[in-house]
């Protein structure tokens, strides 16, 4: 990662190590994951042990140490979505993409993640692809939705 960009994020928080989580969030938002060299740079500049940076980076569910795919699929597994059958949607995606939640396809096209609750329970089960919400999902609808993204891939 370009260390100039890391620097500007650190500066935003005045190099205060109490803002470590916020800094990591900003890097994650920009890069979609936390590159190793960025973490090393942070530890050095904030004058804190690298183990602390890694400990925080691996503790919180929002962070990823591996790059994410171009299309990020999140399936809500909140209780309301679960009782309405969200588990079957995850099964469908696992079968189609041949990856497990938390993984990315080898061609870096798709990442699959599950989230605990998006708070849109009324429309559950909810699937979010690249930030776009789709409500009242089912395995069949998921297959159709996935095909749209697979198609646009080939065209582009």
């Amino acid at each position: 990662m370009d260390m100039g960009r890391v620097e500007s994020i650190l500066k935003r928080y005045d190099y205060q190590h109490s803002s470590l989580i916020a800094m990591l969030q900003d890097i994650q938002a920009e890069m979609k994951y936390l590159p190793e060299d960025a973490l090393e740079h942070m530890a050095e500049k904030l004058e804190i042990p690298l183990t602390r940076v890694f400990r925080v980076a691996t503790f919180y569910g929002a962070f990823s140490l591996t790059p994410k795919g171009r299309h990020q699929i999140q399936v809500c597994l909140g209780t309301a979505c679960h009782v309405r059958g969200a588990g079957r949607i995850v099964d469908t995606l696992e079968r189609q993409l041949k990856i497990k939640p938390g993984e990315t396809t080898r061609n870096l096209r798709f990442s699959l993640d599950t989230v605990n609750c998006l708070g849109a329970c009324a429309a559950g089960p909810i699937v979010v692809v690249n930030g776009e919400y789709s409500g009242e999902m089912s395995p069949l609808k998921m297959e159709k939705l996935l095909k749209q993204y697979q198609k646009t891939k080939k065209e582009s």
């Binding site: 109490s18 503790f59 309405r84 609750c117 089912s138």
Partner: protein, 619 residues
């Protein structure tokens, strides 16, 4: 805008805002909470803007984007004021008609009105719709009337009046006394008396104090805190500032989930406005009291809802709880006395100051005063956020407000309190809902999630679901919690896979006991509740899985078989097309009904969903 520096200045400003507003002027409010956002409210709001502009009447009719109205099931919601006509599932193409018919001719549009599911009657007024009629929307009601990004809207409904009263005509101890007397208990889960907590924090030794607003709403299925922060952020801030003055804190933090981008955005706007107008910063309203608030975005760890874990997280560390023999009110954030309350608790405070303890104590039960917002979700007809007085029964919430179970199916249980709570069965539907009653039956209030389950929900699967959640979210510090949740999950998983053995229920009970007893924080302490409450009320379902290798609800994949009923099969071939594992035998246009080959079937349920004739059965 210049800073308001006195209570008189605030009242002058309020009068100015109100005098510029005509209560009879038509106003269209569009709900833009996350639920309606997912349903497509922004194109609807845009369509209204264009219609008003096109007809040259934008000046005569107000258009306002508001926070969540609660009735998420029927979104996008639009309310036409001053008549308060509720239109549901509104589409952009309806905008023209709403303006020309309802606003200009005073006629309602039948097809957009709420239809009573039993009588088929169309109901026009928002407060006449059964979903709203039985509620008491004290804390949440203003959401539908104000634009969360407008501090003027908040001032117009009496905003920051309680702050002026508290800062200029009450002593800190009087405020604490009033909150104590009101009987307000923490809405985040524990139900600890708020006034008592404030008093301990005020009396703790130290030169600096903090207040924190817990908006790390981690319970899956609960979203009332998000909707309050999104829809009425100033009410939460006002409560916090009053609390900080009473406690003697000079700095505050709001710890909010990063998964709630709109809540973060609206809170940020509110913070800037409150600072600009003089409700935050130095010498607030000329009282000499200084207070500022910072926002911390959470990292997505459920355990951070626990007070000591949250404070570690604010300091920039991993969110691990610590032993609490020294309470956080004495030594919390940066080892200073710290008072933490959740969003809804803070939002109650201005109402208690404005309307007094007498008024507040009249709402609720002996041990639980006031109202509570619940998120009513799952297999219920009217999904959404409901605010009701404490003491209302589960039946009233689920049937009168919630409109009963989807598809007329049979109610099985309602899960309250999130992963720390439990499942309450049908026999307890007439239970009055308050902190103590729910704890007595093995569940808890928690933050107010209410997930309704029907006959097609497997209770062993639900217990497994929560244990899977908790084993992932356990921070791992205490062995009993880290290993206990994992082992309970393994046993539950075994049972749902048809590999349960005699003695598994007792093993679960043993593990539950040790996990609860030997863990530091409430996550481990309450983790066994979903398991214990389902064993307590649904032991027969566990036994059916273990002894008969059968899942009565038809959920656990290893224990069910899909089959095609030959008499209902129309030989259309839809199921065969949908099947991903070529497990369906048959030929379209032949005379022979289709058949599922059990050895090839992966029980994905695709055929079940694809069949239009209910010919696929689960046995």
């Amino acid at each position: 805008m210049k800073r308001i520096s006195s209570p008189e200045g605030l009242e002058t400003e309020r009068k100015r805002i109100l005098s510029a507003r005509d209560p009879n002027k038509p106003c269209i409010t569009v709900c833009t909470g996350t639920g309606c956002h997912a349903a497509g409210c922004y194109p609807v709001a845009e369509a209204f803007r264009e219609v008003l502009k096109k007809n040259g009447i934008a000046g005569r009719i107000d258009l306002r984007n508001t926070g969540c109205h609660g009735f998420c099931e029927k979104g996008p919601l639009v309310v036409v004021h001053p008549q308060k006509i509720l239109y549901q599932r509104v589409k952009p193409e309806d905008a023209e008609e709403v303006v020309s018919k309802t606003i200009q001719k005073g006629k309602t549009i039948e097809r957009l009105l709420y239809e009573h599911p039993a009588s088929g009657e169309r109901i026009a007024r928002e407060d006449e719709v059964p979903f709203y009629k039985r509620q008491r929307r004290t804390i949440f009601g203003d959401n539908g009337n104000i634009d969360p990004a407008s501090i003027e809207d908040y001032l117009a409904i009496g905003g920051y009046k309680a702050l002026a009263t508290a800062l200029l005509s009450m002593k800190p101890v009087d405020i604490i006394e009033q909150v104590k007397e009101s009987g307000l208990r923490g809405r985040g889960g524990g139900g600890f008396p708020a006034g008592q907590k404030w008093e301990s924090c005020r009396n703790a030794a130290g030169d600096k104090r903090y207040v924190i607003c817990n908006a790390d709403e981690g319970d899956p299925g609960a979203y009332m805190d998000r909707s309050l922060l999104e829809g009425n952020p100033h009410s939460v801030l006002e409560g916090m500032i009053i609390g900080a003055y009473a406690i003697g804190a000079s700095e505050g933090y709001v710890y909010v989930r990063n998964e709630y981008p709109l809540a973060v955005k609206n809170l940020r706007i509110a913070l800037d406005q409150a600072t600009e107008w003089g409700f935050l910063g130095g010498d607030i309203l000329g009282s000499g009291f200084d207070f500022s608030v910072k926002i911390n975005r959470g990292g997505g760890a459920f355990v951070c809802g626990e007070s000591t874990a949250m404070m570690a997280s604010i300091e920039g560390y991993s969110g691990e709880p610590r032993p609490k023999h020294i309470h956080t009110v004495e030594s919390g954030l940066y080892d200073k006395p710290t008072n933490l309350n959740n969003v809804e608790t803070w939002a109650n405070v201005p109402h208690i100051i404005n309307q007094g303890t007498e008024w507040y104590r009249r709402i609720g039960t002996d041990g639980s005063k006031g109202t509570k917002i619940f998120s009513l979700v799952g297999k219920v007809n009217n999904t959404g956020l409901v605010e009701v007085p404490m003491g209302i029964t589960l039946r009233e919430i689920i049937y009168d407000i919630g409109g009963g179970i989807i598809g007329g199916k049979r109610f099985k249980a309602v899960q309250t309190g999130g992963p720390s709570g439990g499942c309450v069965p049908e026999s307890l539907l007439d239970l009055p809902v308050d902190f103590d009653r729910l704890t007595e039956v093995g569940s808890m209030m928690g933050s107010g999630g209410m997930i309704v389950m029907d006959e097609n929900t497997c209770m062993v699967d639900v217990a497994k679901y929560f244990m899977n959640f908790l084993k992932e979210e356990s921070c791992g510090k205490c062995t009993s919690c880290r290993e206990g949740t994992k082992r309970m999950y393994e046993v539950l998983n075994r049972i749902t896979e048809g590999l349960g053995q005699d003695g598994d229920i007792e093993l679960l009970e043993d593990l539950a006991f040790v996990t609860a007893e030997a863990s530091l924080c409430a996550l481990g302490g309450t983790a066994p509740n979903p398991v214990l409450s389902t064993i307590r009320y649904f032991r027969d379902e566990y036994e059916a899985h273990i002894r008969d290798k059968r899942c009565p609800a038809g959920v656990c994949k290893a224990l069910i078989t899909y089959r095609i009923a030959p008499d209902r099969c129309t030989i259309c071939g839809r199921c065969q097309k949908a099947c991903p594992s070529q497990a369906i035998e048959g030929k379209v246009k032949s005379k022979k009904p289709f058949k599922i080959l059990p050895e090839k079937c992966i029980r994905c349920g695709m055929c079940y969903e694809a069949c239009k004739f209910d010919a696929i059965e689960v046995v």
